[in-house]
């Protein structure tokens, strides 16, 4: 298994039986060079400054080595085997009905209680009129507009709101931040843009879910959220159902800007294809997520990660302003041969800044689950506080859990607390449940859900219920 193409073939053979069609036209041949970037930019009709920005990123990327510090093991990625532009699939190329979709995928949808028309959407079935979401989407957009909230694709925003994009794009995650962020900056396909005006409390949870039909954003997604002074927004990303996705490599970038007094709550549920139990296939997810919190601002990341063969993700907060607050709540579940190296960075720059990190790692099968976190207190961050809690739960004895907490404090007034535990679902707990009539699978999912409770309560209500169900489905077969 050395080349991207071979890996791709493996995924397709196993997971997606019967619904992947041959390569479409209007897809660039694999490989990356300046012409490819010019082509992408031209396709999107981008202004010159953005093309230059992309090319600059590309130059930086060329000089950067592939990062190898993570506790991850995968065959080398060949970036010349990836195609960097693919036009949206035409209706004819998609599966024509659910009958053509992997029954395993459908079974999961059923268990999660996903309505039929949504199943079609998630599985990428060709449906022209997208049911009620059109009307839902319309009323939704009208309501947002009334509040002055902008919620659109980033391509659209580049044309419609250049004054908002230009100063903020790359302001949190610069082009040359890291290898994958540089690659994303050079070739990003699309993503979401959100702007909340001063003092506005966004009237609803913003969810990519509403945009799912237009959100065929591909593997290099880019999201930018700007919350102006004193505003509030809760943004939900992803979906509890596994997404049909033919891309193997994902390198997304998410930037959050919380201006003074603003609050951003960003919740993610990620359930991409994790590969089979022998580690065949699955998505490689290399994501850079970071937010800047100005004076009195608050950024809260909540993530539930159960998918992907490889997860490399550290949603971080730069606490730039005084009294800024950063939070990170995470549940990462790995099973089969999944590998997750995930955590956060809390960079305290302002005075009286506080951060909270709650990380729950659950490992099953032969998987590897790593928490990696950095808490940095800068010299001028007087009275900074951090609380970190990392708990690992092991199911079985063939999986691994690792914790790499880094603490750099350069101010003596800092208060930093770190707690870590590792536990196993005990036979006694299981037996108690079974003795009370609860079958072992339900029992394990209940115990694991209990373990994750502190994180789930941070999720928006509906998401929390779904996340619980998702764990249940993901844990199937993890016992015994």
């Amino acid at each position: 298994m050395t080349s991207q193409a071979e890996l791709d073939k493996l995924i397709r053979g196993d997971y997606a039986a019967g619904f992947i069609s041959a390569i479409e036209s209007d897809t660039l041949p694999p490989g990356l060079n300046e012409d490819v970037i010019r082509f992408i930019s031209a396709k999107k009709g981008e202004p010159a400054w953005l093309l230059d920005w992309r090319l600059e990123a590309y130059k930086k990327w060329l000089s950067m080595p592939l990062p190898t510090w993570a506790h991850l093991d995968h065959p080398p990625l060949d970036f010349d085997e990836v195609s960097y532009y693919s036009a949206p699939k035409s209706m004819a190329d998609r599966p024509q009905s659910l009958d053509e979709v992997d029954p395993e995928l459908l079974r999961t949808y059923e268990k999660l209680g996903i309505p039929l028309h949504e199943q079609e959407m998630l599985a990428g079935v060709a449906v022209d009129a997208v049911f009620d979401s059109v009307s839902v989407g319309t009323t939704f957009k009208a309501k947002l507009l009334e509040a002055g909230v902008i919620f659109c694709s980033i391509s659209e925003a580049v044309h419609e709101y250049p004054d908002l994009i230009k100063p903020y794009l790359g302001s949190v995650v610069p082009q040359g931040d890291n290898f994958y962020a540089a690659l994303n900056s050079a070739v990003f396909s699309d993503g979401s843009f959100v702007y909340i005006p001063k003092g506005v409390r966004c009237p609803m949870e913003l969810s990519t879910y509403f945009r799912i039909n237009e959100a065929k954003t591909g593997q290099f997604e880019r999201t930018l959220i700007v919350a102006d002074e004193g505003s509030y927004v809760s943004y939900l990303e992803g979906c509890t159902a596994p997404m049909r996705d033919e891309n193997q490599l994902h390198a997304a970038v998410v930037e959050l800007v919380a201006l003074p007094g603003a609050q951003i709550k960003y919740s993610t549920v990620q359930n991409w294809y994790p590969g089979d139990e022998n580690g065949k296939g699955g998505i490689y997810n290399f994501v850079t997520k970071r937010g800047v919190a100005h004076d009195n601002a608050k950024i809260s990341w909540t993530q539930v990660e159960t998918g992907s063969a490889i997860t490399w993700k550290y949603p971080s907060v730069i606490l730039r302003g005084d009294n800024a607050v950063g939070e990170f709540y995470s549940v990462a579940l790995t099973r089969h041969m999944q590998q997750a190296d995930t955590g956060t960075k809390m960079i305290h720059l302002g005075k009286n800044t506080t951060s909270t990190i709650i990380s729950k790692g659950i490992s099953a099968g032969r998987s590897s689950n790593t928490y990696r976190g950095l808490v940095r207190i800068s010299p001028r961050a007087e009275n900074a506080r951090n609380f970190t809690q990392c708990d690992s739960l092991l199911l079985g004895d063939t999986c691994g859990a690792h914790t790499f907490p880094y603490i750099e404090s350069r101010n003596p007034s800092a208060m930093i607390e770190h707690e870590a535990t590792t536990s196993k679902v005990s036979d006694d707990q299981l037996f108690l449940c079974r003795n009370r009539g609860i079958d072992p699978e339900k029992a394990v999912s209940m115990i694991v859900n209990g373990f994750c409770k502190e994180v789930f309560k941070e999720l928006p209500m509906e998401f929390a219920v779904e996340a619980g169900k998702l764990l249940e489905v993901s844990l199937e077969g993890a016992v015994g």
Partner: protein, 252 residues
Amino acid sequence: MLEIKDLHASVAGQDILKGLNLSVKAGEVHAIMGPNGSGKSTLTNVLSGRDGYQITGGQALLDGHDVSELDPEQRAHAGMFLAFQYPVEIPGVSNLEFLKASLEATRKAQGKEPWDAVTLLKKARETCKQVDLDPQFLKRGVNEGFSGGEKKRNEIMQMLLLEPRLALLDETDSGLDIDALQVVARGVNSLRSPDRAIVLVTHYQRLLDYIVPDHVHVLAGGRILKSGGKELALELEQKGYGWLTDQEDAPA
């Protein structure tokens, strides 16, 4: 209801039960007493199907069915309940959530009407009061941070809600003060009925002052050495176990 015939069982390769016979009929309360290491807890664990407890000979029949053919949860569905000597904690899973899962699965398997959320909460609160537990305990994690006595009362609370036909209580009296003992006894007594049976495993006669058994058995060396009425317990209290086990060649 429960028919145990020449039961042999081992734990970690060590033979603990060595030909145990016991017959429990509906409506009866049996007390099983015996010295430490005689196999009392092994008996309840074998009956409820705990991993690691192997039946090596004989059989235990519940309503005529060999229990070894049933998974632990199936035994629960068949009406068997074990009140644990050391109830384990399940952090983050609320008592109420746990009860809901337990009752849903059990009532479904028994073909009973499911309880809606309101009914469940109402019954659970009432039952809490019955065993002198603050209903606030329903919101706390299962046994999480409970005192020893609270854990035992929590077990009895679950038992009363599940209404088992055969309740096995493994040293439920251990670690209880006299007030808590009375509360637990009251709970157990309220379960007594002509169609149910209760098997109490205990070290001490004290519990039997409050839950008066129909039959008392002395278990030693993996076998029932002597059976009698409630007066046997009093005799044991006075004489200890020595006079019985001394008759054995190899006491446990």
